[in-house]
C-alpha cells in the first residue's frame, strides 16, 4: 500500500513538473536556429544525413569564421521522428529562445508552421519541399522554398523523359507511373503531372503508398501488370529503399525509374545492392565530398572532433543538401546584416535577408561550393528563386550527374502556382502585399 501511495505522489509530481523544463535559458549574443531532426523512426535513413549536414555546416561557420560576421550561430536539435505533432511540440518549445528561421524538413510540419510564421515572426525555409503555393511571396511573405518547388521538379522530370524519348512530342501514348507517399508531400506533384499528361498526351497512373511505406507489394504488382515506360517516385525514409529493392526484384529497367530529390540518397540504393545500378533521381546540386567546402569541414570540424557524422558519410546526397540549406540560411543572415548591422537579428530582419538574397557564382566560389549548386536570386514575388534541376544516376558505388541543368516548364507551373497561392492564402485569411512598394 505504501508503495502505491508513494507512486501516486511521485507521478503527480512528475506530471506537474513535466513541461516546466521548457523554461527559456538565458539569451546570449548569438543567432538561434532550431533544428527539427529525426534521427529515429521509419524516416531516420533520410533524417540522419540531413541532421548531420546542418550541424556540421553551422559548426564550420562558427569554427572557421567565428560565426556570421562575428555573430555565432547557436543551434539545438529536437527530435520529431518526422511526426507532425512532435514537430509542433519541438517548435513551440524552442520558440522561447527566439529563433529567426526554421527548416522543418517535413512537408507535414511545414504545413503546421506556415500559419504560425507571421505571428511568431519566424522565417520558414522549406528548401525544395513544403507547400508549392508558398513560392508566391506576395501571398506568403514568411515562407521560402527556393531553389525549386515540387511542381517545378515534376515538370523538369517530364522534360527529362521527353529528352530521353527524343522530344516531348514522343511522349504521346507513353505510360508514366507516379508512386508516391500518401501524404501532402507525396500528393503535391500530382496536379502538375496530371496537367502535363493532358498537355503532352502521356498516360499517367497514380499509385499511393501509405505511411511509412514499408508495404509496397500491391503497388509493384500493379507496376508489373501496367509495365509503364517510366516510373517517377516520391518517397521518403524507409519507403525509398523498399521501392528500389522491389523494382530491382521485378527486373524493372532501372534507368527508367527516376526518384524525386527526396528519393535518391545513398541509403536508398545501397540496400538493393547491384540491383539498384542505373537508378536515377532528380536533384539540384552535385553529390560527393570533392568540394572545397568539404575540405574545410574536415579541417575545422572533424579534426577538432566536432563532426556529427562518420567521416565517410560526409558528401552523401542529403548531407550535401542540408549543408547547402545551412549555407543559404547563413548567406541570407549575412545579407540581412548588410542592412541591419552585425548583431543578433530578429526574424523580421532575417526575412529581409531572405527576400534580398542574391547568391552569385563568385560568392559560391568563395564559399567553396563552386559547381556544387547554381547561383540563386530570391525576390519578393518569387520565393522559389530561379533554380534548375539535374538528374543523377547510381552506378553501384556513387551518384553521377547525367544531365545538364534543366529549366522547369515554368509557363505551366507558375500560373498554376499563383492560382494555388490565392486559394491557400484565402484559407489563412491573408491579404496580398504590394512588392513594388517594398523596394
Amino acid at each position: 500500500m505504501r508503495v502505491k501511495l508513494l507512486l501516486s505522489v511521485l507521478l503527480a509530481l512528475a506530471v506537474a513538473a513535466g513541461p516546466l523544463a521548457a523554461v527559456a535559458p538565458a539569451q546570449d549574443k548569438s543567432i538561434f536556429i532550431p533544428l527539427l531532426v529525426y534521427r529515429t523512426g521509419p524516416y531516420a535513413p533520410s533524417g540522419i544525413p540531413i541532421a548531420n549536414g546542418a550541424s556540421d555546416y553551422f559548426n564550420l561557420v562558427n569554427e572557421r569564421d567565428g560565426g556570421v560576421n562575428g555573430v555565432k550561430i547557436a543551434f539545438e536539435e529536437c527530435e520529431t521522428q518526422y511526426d507532425t505533432k512532435q514537430g509542433v511540440e519541438c517548435y513551440e518549445r524552442l520558440k522561447s529562445r527566439s529563433p529567426v528561421l526554421v527548416n522543418p524538413y517535413s512537408t507535414g510540419i511545414t504545413y503546421q508552421l506556415i500559419p504560425k510564421a507571421p505571428g511568431d515572426k519566424v522565417v520558414i525555409h522549406s528548401m525544395g519541399y513544403g507547400m508549392t503555393a508558398s513560392a508566391d511571396g506576395r501571398w506568403f511573405p514568411w515562407v521560402f522554398n527556393f531553389p525549386m518547388t515540387y511542381w517545378s521538379q515534376a515538370s523538369a522530370f517530364v522534360k527529362y523523359v521527353g529528352q530521353q524519348e527524343g522530344g516531348v512530342e514522343k511522349l504521346k501514348g507513353k505510360k508514366i507511373a507516379h508512386i508516391y507517399h500518401n501524404s501532402p508531400y507525396g500528393r503535391e506533384a500530382n496536379p502538375t503531372l496530371e496537367e502535363l499528361a493532358r498537355k503532352y498526351g502521356f498516360e499517367l497512373t497514380l499509385l499511393a503508398v501509405d505511411h511509412p511505406g514499408q508495404e509496397q507489394k500491391s503497388t509493384w504488382l500493379q507496376i508489373r501488370r501496367l509495365n509503364p515506360d517510366w516510373i517517377f517516385v516520391s518517397g521518403w525514409g524507409v519507403m525509398n529503399q523498399v521501392a528500389v529493392k522491389e523494382a530491382a526484384a521485378i527486373g524493372y529497367k532501372m534507368d527508367h525509374m527516376v526518384g524525386n530529390w527526396w528519393t535518391g540518397t545513398e541509403a536508398d540504393v545501397v540496400p538493393a545492392g547491384d540491383g539498384a545500378k542505373g537508378y536515377k533521381s532528380m536533384t539540384f546540386h552535385a553529390p560527393g565530398a570533392n568540394f572545397k567546402v568539404h575540405q574545410d569541414i574536415f579541417k575545422h570540424v572533424y579534426d577538432k572532433g566536432k563532426g556529427a557524422a562518420k567521416r565517410e558519410a560526409v558528401g552523401e546526397v542529403l548531407y550535401n543538401r542540408m549543408a547547402i540549406n545551412a549555407m543559404l540560411n547563413v548567406e541570407a543572415i549575412r545579407t540581412a546584416m548588410t542592412k541591419s548591422g552585425n548583431k543578433p537579428l530578429t526574424g523580421e530582419q532575417v526575412r529581409w535577408g531572405f527576400e534580398n538574397l542574391n547568391l552569385t557564382e563568385k560568392r559560391l566560389e568563395e564559399l567553396g561550393m563552386k559547381g556544387m549548386m547554381r547561383p540563386l536570386r530570391v525576390t519578393c514575388e518569387n520565393h522559389e528563386g530561379n533554380g534548375l534541376a539535374l538528374v543523377q544516376q547510381w552506378d553501384g558505388k556513387k551518384w553521377n550527374i547525367v544531365s545538364d541543368w534543366m529549366e522547369p516548364i515554368r509557363e505551366v507551373v507558375r500560373p498554376k502556382l499563383e492560382a494555388a497561392a490565392v486559394e491557400e492564402a484565402k484559407k489563412l485569411g491573408y491579404t496580398m502585399r504590394d512588392c513594388a512598394k517594398e523596394k
Binding site: 502505491k4 506530471v15 534521427r39 527530435e79 511540440e89 504545413y111 503546421q112 501532402p184 503535391e188
Partner: protein, 358 residues
C-alpha cells in the same frame, strides 16, 4: 484531518445522489475547475497552452469517449482514430460549406455525424465480442482513413489533401484558425471537456450507464433482467463516437490547425486505448488521469535531461524516453492494474481515515 466527513449527513435524496457527496470534494472540484478556466489563459506561456494543455484536453475528451464504450459498456474498440477522423472531416466540411454556422454547432453536428458512423460500425457488436469486435472496429479505422484519403471531396479537392481550420468566432472572440490565440482555443477546449465530462458522469450514474455496466459484467444476465442488448450496445457506440468525433474536430480546429489523415492513424487509437487502460477502465476521472499520463510523461522525459543539464544526443534521448515510458506503463499496470483512478481512490480512502488508520 482536513478530509473528514464527520457531521455531513445526507438528509435528502438529492444530497445522497450528488455527484460529489463530500463537501471537500465539491469545493476542491469547483476551485480546480475555476482555476483551470482562469489561471492558464492568464499566466501560461504559449508553449504550455499550445503544446501541453490543449492536446491534453483533446485527448481527455477522446479518452472519455472510449472509456464509455470500453470501460463502461465493455465493448473493446480500436477504431477511435477513425471516429475522430470522421468528426474532424465533417467539422471541416460543415464549416466550409456553411461559413455562418456557429462553430459550437459545427462541433456538435460533427459529433453527431461521428455518432452515426459509430452506430454503423457498432452493429457487429451484437454478434461478436472481445477481441473479435476489436478486429471489426480496426476495420473501421482503416476503412475510414482510406476513404478520407481516397475521396477528394472530403478535403474540398485540396491537392495536398490537408484540411485547414478556418477562422471562426464565439461571442466575438476568434477561437479557431491560425489567428486565434492559444488562450481562446484552450478555453474553448476546456469548456467542451467540462460540459461533456459532466454529461458523461451523469450518463454513467443513470439508467443507461447501469445498463452498460450490466452488459459489460454479464450480458446474458442483463438480458434476462430486461436490458435490451441491441439498444444498449448501439447507444454505447453512438455516444462514444460522438465524444471521439468532437475530440477529432478539436484536434484539427483547436490543436493542430491543419491536418491530414496521418494525424488519425492507428497510433491514435492505441494511444487513447492506453490512456483508458492506464487511467482506469470504467472511471471518468481515469480518462483525465490517463490522458495526463500519456501526454505529459513523454514531454517530461524529453525535457528531463535538459533540466539536470545533461546534453545527450537527441537520438539516444528519444530511445531512452521510449524505453522509460514503456517501462513505466508496465510498472504501473503491475502495481495497480486498475489504473491511476484506483490509486486516487485508495488515497482518498486513506485520507478519510487519517490520522487513525485501522
Amino acid at each position: 484531518m482536513i478530509y473528514r466527513t464527520a457531521g455531513q449527513f445526507k438528509t435528502t435524496y438529492a444530497s445522497d445522489q450528488a455527484i460529489f457527496p463530500i463537501v471537500q470534494d465539491r469545493v476542491a472540484v469547483t476551485l480546480a475547475l475555476t482555476a483551470a478556466f482562469v489561471i492558464p489563459p492568464a499566466l501560461a506561456s504559449e508553449y504550455w497552452l499550445q503544446a501541453v494543455l490543449i492536446p491534453l484536453l483533446v485527448y481527455a475528451l477522446a479518452a472519455l469517449g472510449l472509456n464509455l464504450l470500453t470501460g463502461y459498456a465493455g465493448q473493446l474498440s480500436l477504431g477511435t482514430g477513425g471516429f475522430m477522423a470522421v468528426g474532424a472531416y465533417s467539422a471541416f466540411k460543415l464549416s466550409t460549406a456553411f461559413p455562418h454556422l456557429d462553430i459550437v454547432a459545427v462541433f456538435l453536428l460533427a459529433g453527431l455525424v461521428a455518432a452515426g458512423v459509430g452506430l454503423l460500425f457498432g452493429i457487429p457488436s451484437l454478434r461478436i465480442k472481445g477481441f473479435y469486435l476489436a478486429v471489426a472496429t480496426l476495420a473501421a479505422q482503416f476503412f475510414l482513413l482510406w476513404l478520407f484519403n481516397k475521396v477528394a471531396w472530403f478535403v474540398n479537392y485540396a491537392p495536398s489533401g490537408t484540411i485547414t481550420a478556418p477562422d471562426r468566432e464565439v461571442l466575438g472572440v476568434l477561437v479557431t484558425g491560425p489567428n486565434a490565440t492559444a488562450g481562446a482555443r484552450y478555453v474553448m477546449a476546456l469548456a467542451f471537456v467540462a460540459v461533456f465530462g459532466l454529461v458523461a458522469k451523469n450518463l454513467v450514474r443513470g439508467r443507461l450507464g447501469r445498463a452498460w455496466m450490466a452488459i459489460r459484467d454479464r450480458d446474458i444476465a442483463a438480458e434476462i433482467i430486461g436490458i435490451r442488448p441491441l439498444r444498449t450496445k448501439l447507444l454505447a457506440f453512438g455516444i462514444s463516437s460522438f465524444y471521439c468525433g468532437v475530440a477529432g474536430a478539436e484536434l484539427v480546429f483547436l490543436y493542430l490547425g491543419s491536418a491530414e489523415t496521418q494525424a488519425f492513424d492507428i497510433n491514435i487509437s492505441f494511444l487513447v486505448l492506453f490512456m483508458v487502460i492506464i487511467g482506469g477502465l470504467g472511471s471518468i476521472l481515469g480518462s483525465f488521469l490517463g490522458a495526463a499520463f500519456i501526454v505529459l510523461v513523454p514531454i517530461f522525459l524529453t525535457n528531463a535531461p535538459h533540466l539536470v543539464g545533461l546534453g545527450l544526443p537527441v537520438a539516444l534521448q528519444k530511445q531512452i524516453e521510449l524505453m522509460v515510458f514503456g517501462a513505466l506503463i508496465i510498472f504501473f499496470l503491475i502495481v495497480e492494474p486498475h489504473g491511476l483512478a484506483r490509486l486516487w481512490q485508495i488515497t482518498k480512502e486513506k485520507l478519510r481515515l487519517w490520522p487513525f488508520p485501522h
